[in-house]
């Protein structure tokens, strides 16, 4: 027998009570995160005190930006793909996936100092070919802003019906809902426009994400190191983003499920389905790294070897590379290859946390050597592999503060918009029936054309 489906009224009650209620645990969490974030601001101020002329001290700062920009901007894509495939299991993961876009606000702030830190395209070999004006700084800023605005727009259009409901349910006291819901009342035309708006914004988001990640990987990592020319790196960088998208969604889902008590709505189904995509991306991560590594290892061209092998894998920073490799590939494969672990809440959550740790280490491997390089980026090749040092106190403060700032924004947004999308959950229930098929009871899912 299948479990009976909740009614729309039950869904509404459970989502609105969690969005409109408040608890001491929530306030305490925000306070702790805010204090940690202030620590990050102190670390930033210390770094700023040493000036923006030398890139080296900002290496870990850049890695934090790289990680948050990857994770924060990637997660919303997870809600788009099942919608595109007209799947009906994704209703309860939509909010967990899209709400991470609010971290984009912090990403824009983190990006601003980097504009002053990297040289113009005129003094290094870039894809901009000595572009006369604004490259890469001006255009990269527009790219980052565009992706963040796209994320916010995608989140807003998705949450619009929920904001309208919150406005009504709170009697107009929910300030964010009052400000952002306009006069949405749920007419058939408004639903139609919202559905198409989501499709267009989601499509734009996927296209923007891959493109922006590639451009940032080229302008802020690869072209800062002399002699490093790899067509695999932007793809590898973007694959990290796709893996981060699934991993972050699973982590947010697990946290929401646990702390908002939503076990009835966020079930093993959602974890299982996303875990299958995540495992494929873990394998793709390893494949992309291998493709880059093998060519350079076999070719033995010195200017490639010193970067791809000496700096990024089995050279000066072996221990870091091995940690990333184990977290992003070995352990995920060993855990998720077993169906009982894949079809659980704990298995995918553990792998998602490991993957995020691996991606963070990978961003250190990407950004820190690029910012520590003291050679002229126009040189023919890097003379010596660059060793990654341990982070100093300001770096630790920036790392912890940056992560705390992003978590603060996501925690606030989850509370503000509600941990579940009321309308998506209701739609899933409306379009589903548990019916008899021969001797078994099976779910029938209606998929309107």
């Amino acid at each position: 027998m299948l479990e009976p489906l909740p009614t729309p009224a039950e869904i509404a009650r459970d989502t609105f009570s969690r969005a409109l209620g408040s608890s001491n645990a929530y306030r305490l969490t925000l306070l702790v995160l805010f204090v940690l974030f202030v620590g990050g601001v102190v670390g930033f101020a210390i770094r700023l005190g040493s000036g923006l002329e030398d890139r080296g001290p900002w290496a870990y700062y850049a890695a934090v930006f790289g990680f948050l920009f990857t994770v924060g901007q990637a997660a919303p894509m997870v809600s788009f793909v099942p919608r595109l495939a007209r799947a009906r299991w994704h209703g309860s993961l939509v909010r967990a996936s899209q709400v991470v876009a609010v971290a984009g606000l912090l990403n824009v702030l983190l990006f601003l100092p980097l504009i002053w830190l990297v040289p113009s395209s005129a003094v290094r070999t870039t894809i901009w070919f000595d572009w006369p004006w604004g490259a890469p700084h001006f255009y990269d800023t527009i790219f980052v802003l565009m992706l963040v605005v796209n994320g916010f727009a995608f989140l807003w259009v998705q949450a619009l019906p929920d904001l309208a409901s919150l406005r009504v349910q709170s009697g107009g006291t929910h300030r964010v809902a009052r400000l952002l819901s306009g006069s949405f009342i749920g007419t058939p035309k408004q639903w139609k426009v919202q559905r198409i708006g989501l499709a267009v914004l989601g499509g734009c988001y996927v296209m923007n994400f891959i493109f922006v990640q590639s451009i940032i990987s080229l302008d802020y990592v690869m072209t800062l190191i002399p002699g490093w020319k790899s067509s695999m790196f932007p793809a590898f960088y973007s694959i990290n983003g796709l893996l981060a998208a699934t991993a972050m969604t699973i982590v947010v889902m697990a946290v929401i499920r646990r702390f908002y008590g939503l076990q009835a709505y966020i079930t093993v189904d959602q974890f299982w389905n996303v875990a299958k995509i995540m495992l494929a991306l873990n394998l793709a991560w390893a494949y992309h790294w291998w493709s880059d590594f093998l060519t350079s290892w076999y070719g033995r061209v010195p200017r490639e070897t010193v970067v791809i092998i000496g700096t990024r894998s089995f050279g000066e920073n072996t221990w870091l590379f091995v940690a990333a490799f184990v977290c992003c590939f070995v352990l995920p494969l060993l855990i998720l290859m077993w169906n009982p672990w894949r079809k659980s809440v704990a298995g995918p959550t553990v792998v998602a946390v490991l993957s995020l740790i691996g991606i963070f280490i990978q961003r250190i491997i990407d950004y820190v050597p690029a910012f520590l390089n003291t050679q002229d980026p126009l040189d023919h090749e890097l003379h010596e592999a660059i060793a990654i040092p341990w982070p100093g106190l300001p770096d630790v403060l920036i790392i912890v503060g940056g992560l705390a700032g992003a978590v603060f924004l996501v925690t606030w947004a989850v509370k503000c918009l509600g941990p579940l999308s009321n309308w998506e959950m209701q739609e899933c229930v409306i379009l589903r029936r548990n019916e008899k098929f021969l001797n078994a009871e099976v779910p029938y899912v209606i998929k309107p054309q």
């Binding site: 009614t7 729309p8 009224a9 869904i11 509404a12 609105f16 894809i127 901009w128 070919f129 000595d130 572009w131 006369p132 004006w133 490259a135 255009y139 527009i142 790219f143 565009m146 605005v149 796209n150 727009a153 259009v157 619009l160 019906p161 309208a164 409901s165 009504v168 349910q169 306009g182 006069s183 949405f184 009342i185 749920g186 007419t187 058939p188 035309k189 408004q190 639903w191 139609k192 426009v193 919202q194 559905r195 198409i196 708006g197 267009v200 914004l201 734009c204 296209m207 923007n208 493109f211 451009i215 009321n422 309308w423 998506e424 209701q426 739609e427 409306i430 379009l431 209606i446 309107p448």
Partner: protein, 168 residues
């Protein structure tokens, strides 16, 4: 013009009420269905109307592309520096900015399109009920006069509406 809203607990009753409204002489464009979640188009026999949202991203993309093309070609032609033997109007670097312009235009115009087509800043005070957000269905009938409003009220009540409201 008066409006009448019938509030229904289940979609089946609401669909049957919509059929009754049509049998009473109301056309598919005379009533509006208010729901807390999207139902398949035409589920209540309503006419959801056309929209022009597709035009917005398309128009925005074309404008963005044109601006990107002008910026890139204009910049290159204003500062005609030959780099590494490449042509003055080099497609690879131009493509990046043209792509950026295209996507930015599409994005901005889509947001404008959603706001415009959904009539989000709607200053008219429409009939609504908080229970719609909890799964109830609202059928709002726009009537030409009080006689028609009375017919609508009777039809909705007979069809099983839990509550019928009128706004003049």
């Amino acid at each position: 013009m008066p409006s009448v809203m019938g509030l229904f607990q289940s979609a089946d009753t609401a669909a049957a009420a919509a059929d009754r409204l049509q049998a009473s002489g109301f056309g598919p464009t005379d009533y509006e269905v208010l729901t807390g979640a999207p139902y398949p188009e035409g589920a209540f026999g309503e006419d959801s109307g056309d929209h022009r949202l597709f035009i917005f991203p398309l128009g925005g993309a074309m404008i963005g592309f044109a601006v990107g093309l002008m910026v890139t070609a204009g910049t290159q032609l204003s500062y005609p520096l030959v780099t590494a033997g490449k042509p003055i109007l080099g497609i690879p670097p131009m493509f990046i900015i043209m792509y950026e312009g295209t996507m930015l235009g599409a994005l901005i115009f889509t947001i404008m399109g959603v706001i415009f087509e959904s009539r989000l800043p709607n200053l008219t005070n429409d009939l609504y009920d908080a229970r719609i957000t909890e799964g109830y269905i609202g059928l709002v009938v726009r009537c030409e006069d009080n006689t028609q409003a009375e017919t609508a009220q009777t039809t909705l009540a007979e069809a099983g509406a839990e509550e019928v409201k009128q706004q003049d």
